[in-house]
Subunit: 210 residues, 2 copies
Amino acid sequence: MRNTEDAPAARRGRRPGQTATRQRILESARELFAAVGYDQTSIRGVAEKASVDPALVMHYFGSKDGLFEAAIDWPFDMDDAVRHVFEGDPATMGERLVRMVCERWEDETTRHPLTVILRNAVQREEAATLMTEFVERQIVGQLVKRSKDPTAALRGSLAHSVILGLVMVRYLERLEPLASASIDEVVRAAGPTVQRYLAVEGESSFSNSG
Amino acid sequence: MRNTEDAPAARRGRRPGQTATRQRILESARELFAAVGYDQTSIRGVAEKASVDPALVMHYFGSKDGLFEAAIDWPFDMDDAVRHVFEGDPATMGERLVRMVCERWEDETTRHPLTVILRNAVQREEAATLMTEFVERQIVGQLVKRSKDPTAALRGSLAHSVILGLVMVRYLERLEPLASASIDEVVRAAGPTVQRYLAVEGESSFSNSG
């Protein structure tokens, strides 16, 4: 969704006026997202609050998700990353999702910003909800797009809860032995768990289990 | 571990002097747990800080876990609850654990205190770590006690992370569709996930999966 050719244009050699406008849009977005939540926030509403044209918001951020990522300083293109997980061999989606999450949390350039976001989030309930809704929306969105199964949304929600728990225990609280396990061990252990939730109908043991 | 015949003696018709002593012990315990963590806190250390005999701490609280539960106002006997999960049919341990957690979070008498504990915990990092370590210790403890498999601790840690993620999404942030699913749906969906981590060697697909 987010146009990576367009959006970071503002980051390359932007003029002072552009920077100020971009900042004003981001501040308006932060205020609106925090006040009324993601669903109730619109590109038009943010543009109005920042006294700019909605087209300019789209030019800078490409989409509402792109605007949200910029507003919370999310350090990578989530739509790209999650789409990559869902493309390719459907039998190993779970492993790819767990590996992507671990790699982002262990990469020098993304680890610190992600830690800051999660710390801030767990300290303020609205921020936590916004952040986890954002992650859940990405996973559920891809699942629902690819599956007509009526349980797709619930399965996406559960897959997200597994990832959230993993990140909390391994990266925020660093409880052993999960904190010191290698990425490969975590992928081997948690991959099939997530896979069970992500697998499209027919390939999932979700409905007939228990 | 915690002697339920003995421990709540202090709750039944206790005299004012007893209440004050019990409170002093609890305050000392809270300070020590927060300052040095669970592992470094001893019954002897708490007794010393509260200027009482260690035997009195044991009399009131039965064990270090009992003391910890009282210190954070944990609203049910965790050792009992978790042991119940691990006793009985090994094939349905995962379902029993998920059901127990959901039932405690939806029971009128335990829901509110649990919410208070989790809210406090997510707001202060040491409190979060103490609380999640406590839950993890219960699950890992039961697993390690019953299994010689070298992956038992990691599996327990992962099972705990699944439960933590579930509780955060369903009860703290109340994200849909997980928030409105029935307990039976959640048990059917998440039970086998947790089961995969809890199953003793031979019954687990943990080692040879991926």
